[in-house]
């Protein structure tokens, strides 16, 4: 019972962390068609900035300043980098952001070193939120949940209920028409990229102490974020939400399952021994394979339903 409860809680929190990361990416992709490989790098910058700023001005201001900084950097990337590359097509854009991710990783190493930095949970939020079945649940995870849900609410509200959101939604499918109607579409792009980057930065602030803050964190989380975006469907924020929760909960529950194909076959009366050729594969426990489940899901989704769960166009 406790295992199920904690798996659910942990899975939901992990899923929400993934959503925080992928919401910005989905936003940028749906509007601009740019697959931003540097998105996870902005997440990493958010974590490092928050650590550095906390040391100078304390945690609460850092929580606001770090995402703002990331947003500004995102705006600069779009205005001075992507805009120039945009004319050359999608591949050029992807290569640009890909190269940028390497550059950012090296800059981080130059600035803060190769080793993980001690990004400990700040004292003001370092306590147990509640105790359940003898296990404590840290408050920062509750905060992470709150921020993530808040992000979802903000994005959903901003896009469905405000005029700016309406314009952005229109620019998604009819950028030329929107431009013809007098809206400054390039400025819209800068704004959206900045918002997406700021969201990544905010995710980084919290993610920085949930996970390790090290120069590798972008490379570690980057692939999973793409899985979320593809499985959820390109262009859909609710899709990204459902996909992140699905992946978070399934992966977490999978760790708790020690069953393998051998057990399944055994239920049907078939026993395999070490001598059988398929033994090695059949002996893999679900728990062992848990971290690759998202990628299996990615492959299945691309084969069965390329537009993802709630996507508006095919991947």
């Amino acid at each position: 019972m406790e295992l199920v409860t904690f798996s659910l809680l942990n899975g939901a929190v992990y899923g929400l962390l993934l959503f925080m990361l992928s919401s910005g990416l989905t936003l940028i992709f749906s509007l601009m068609g740019v697959l931003n490989f540097a998105h996870a790098s902005l997440f990493m910058l958010g974590a490092y900035f928050s650590w550095q700023l906390s040391r100078w001005v304390g945690f609460a201001p850092a929580l606001v300043l770090a995402p703002l900084l990331c947003g500004l950097i995102g705006a600069a990337i779009e205005r001075y980098g992507l805009r120039a590359v945009h004319a050359r097509g999608h591949v050029a854009e992807i290569l640009f952001t890909f190269g940028l991710s390497y550059v950012i990783a090296e800059l981080v190493i130059m600035g803060w070193g190769r080793n993980p930095i001690e990004n400990r949970v700040p004292a003001m939020i370092d306590f147990a939120a509640f105790h359940l079945f003898g296990t404590s649940y840290p408050f920062y995870k509750v905060l992470m949940t709150a921020i993530s849900v808040g992000m979802f609410a903000f994005l959903y509200g901003a896009f469905k209920r405000t005029r700016l959101g309406l314009v952005i939604q229109a620019a998604l499918t009819h950028p030329q028409m929107v431009g013809a109607l007098g809206h400054d579409v390039p400025r819209l792009f800068v704004l959206v990229f900045a918002i997406g980057s700021a969201l990544a930065g905010l995710a980084g602030v919290i993610g920085g102490f949930a996970l390790l803050t090290e120069p590798n964190m972008a490379a570690n989380l980057g692939p999973i974020v793409f899985v979320v975006v593809v499985v959820g469907g390109l262009g859909s924020i609710p899709g990204a939400f459902y996909a992140s929760m699905l992946i978070g909960i399934v992966q977490t529950f999978a760790v708790a399952l020690d069953y393998s194909m051998l057990d399944l076959l055994g239920a049907f009366g078939v026993t395999l021994t070490r001598a059988d050729r398929l033994y090695e594969v059949a002996a893999i426990k679900i728990a062992q394979a848990a971290p690759i489940i998202p990628y299996v899901l990615l492959v299945v989704m691309l084969v069965v339903r390329p537009r993802g769960l709630l996507g508006t166009r095919d991947t």
Partner: protein, 404 residues
């Protein structure tokens, strides 16, 4: 005309340089998840080779260290090994990842068989899958760290005496080393304390898991009072972090719990509970050894600890072997190393001739907040529980070495 002149000058330089140096290749992760371990070891290698060079080098030749980043990938390691050999390296040093060590030991054996006169030695300082000095042993490979079974032997002797341990949970990385730890623990616990119940045997992917809270939830659900793990680098750090978040209350018997970043990750929760088995910790002698004092003077970052005492032992043996052989030829060095006995500040050590495994004193230690020297400015350090003399660490071997 100018090009030819330039070429002649370059050739002159190359020939001039080639005579006076012995090249060592250091192949380990210098980027990626395990970089902290690789970069730390690199600093040790540079530190000890500089000391040897200051004393005149080996048989008149200065040591040059060539570093290569293998990202803990066996495929990448084979590529850089070829590069290192092409650049004239005669000794290859590696440690992080038994998977890599297996690839290198095979490649070195093949290279030496096909290129007599251009042999290369493999000094393994941390890959401790027992197979490397048993069924996969070869004349060119020397291991300078006690293997999985030797260390588990030390741990299980301590566990045997502790009557408060009833349920043990095993969690390890899913590759040759992690599986060896799990197998050794299961086997030896059954022999020495059959009353102990092993309530979990977990294998997780190497360096891939970001969030260990599901695993910690499982450990809690099993009711274990002790966890035995061979996890290293980020896997150890993150497991400790998740355990601390969930308030996990167990004894930790670890191989690498004192590694970079791990002690700050577990913090005060580890006092009295975190144990490790190593050849050194900075409270093993009443005063800091001269090597550590000099190391800390040169490398002053918080993260720079003299963790690899076995590298000190390795270079001490190399220096002694070079003196004994009177030459830096790898075959002669290897023969000189076999059976070599040396004294160290911690006790005598011996390089076994039968399987090229170094026997050095081992210490089982526990984390404490009342030590003279701490780790990484955390206020916490290790205290020795038990010392195992070098000769007592030896285990039987199945190695049938073929010598040139």
């Amino acid at each position: 005309m100018r090009n030819r002149l330039l070429a002649c000058l370059c050739a002159a330089f190359a020939v001039g340089a080639a005579h006076a140096e012995l090249k060592l290749a250091f192949i380990d992760p210098l980027s990626g998840g395990a970089a902290s371990a690789g970069v730390s070891a690199q600093k040790h290698v540079v530190f000890f080779t500089d000391a040897i060079n200051a004393r005149g080098g080996l048989n008149g030749e200065k040591i040059t260290v060539l570093s290569y980043d293998n990202k803990v990938s066996p495929q990448e390691s084979l590529i850089v090994l070829k590069k290192a050999i092409d650049e004239g390296a005669r000794i290859v040093i590696q440690g992080n990842g038994s998977s890599v060590a297996h690839a290198i030991t095979d490649a070195v054996l093949k290279h030496n068989e096909r290129n007599p006169g251009k042999e290369v030695l493999f000094f393994n300082y941390a890959a401790i899958d027992p197979a490397l000095t048993n069924e996969k042993c070869n004349f060119w490979h020397f291991r300078f760290d006690a293997d999985v079974d030797m260390k588990m032997h030390g741990f299980t002797d301590v566990i045997t005496k502790d009557r408060n341990i009833h349920k043990v949970y095993l969690i390890n990385q899913d590759y040759s080393f992690g599986k060896a730890v799990a197998a050794a623990a299961t086997r030896m616990l059954k022999e020495k304390r059959p009353d102990i119940q092993i309530v979990g045997d977990e294998l997780h992917p190497l360096q891939k898991v970001q969030d260990f809270s599901p695993y910690v939830a499982k450990i809690k659900a099993s009711g274990a009072d002790t966890v035995i793990t061979g996890n290293w680098s980020n896997d150890m750090l993150l497991l400790f972090k998740a355990g601390k978040d969930a308030g996990l209350n167990v004894n930790w018997f670890t191989y690498y719990g004192g590694g970079l970043g791990s002690v700050p990750a577990i913090g005060k929760d580890g006092v009295g509970r975190l144990k490790q088995i190593t050849e050194y910790h900075n409270n093993v002698l009443p005063a800091l050894p001269a090597e550590e004092a000099a190391f800390k003077k040169r490398f002053t970052e918080k993260a720079d600890e003299l963790y690899y005492w076995r590298l000190r032992n390795m270079f001490a043996m190399l220096e002694a072997a070079a003196k004994k052989a009177g030459s830096n030829d790898p075959v002669k060095l290897a023969r000189a190393l076999e059976g070599m006995k040396l004294d160290t500040p911690l006790g005598p050590m011996e390089m076994r001739a039968d399987n090229h495994q170094l026997l050095q004193p081992l210490f089982v230690s526990t984390l404490s907040d009342k030590t003279k020297y701490d780790l990484e400015a955390s206020g916490l350090g290790f205290v020795t529980d038990a010392k195992i003399d070098a000769d007592k660490t030896a285990l039987p071997t199945t190695c049938k070495m073929q010598r040139p």
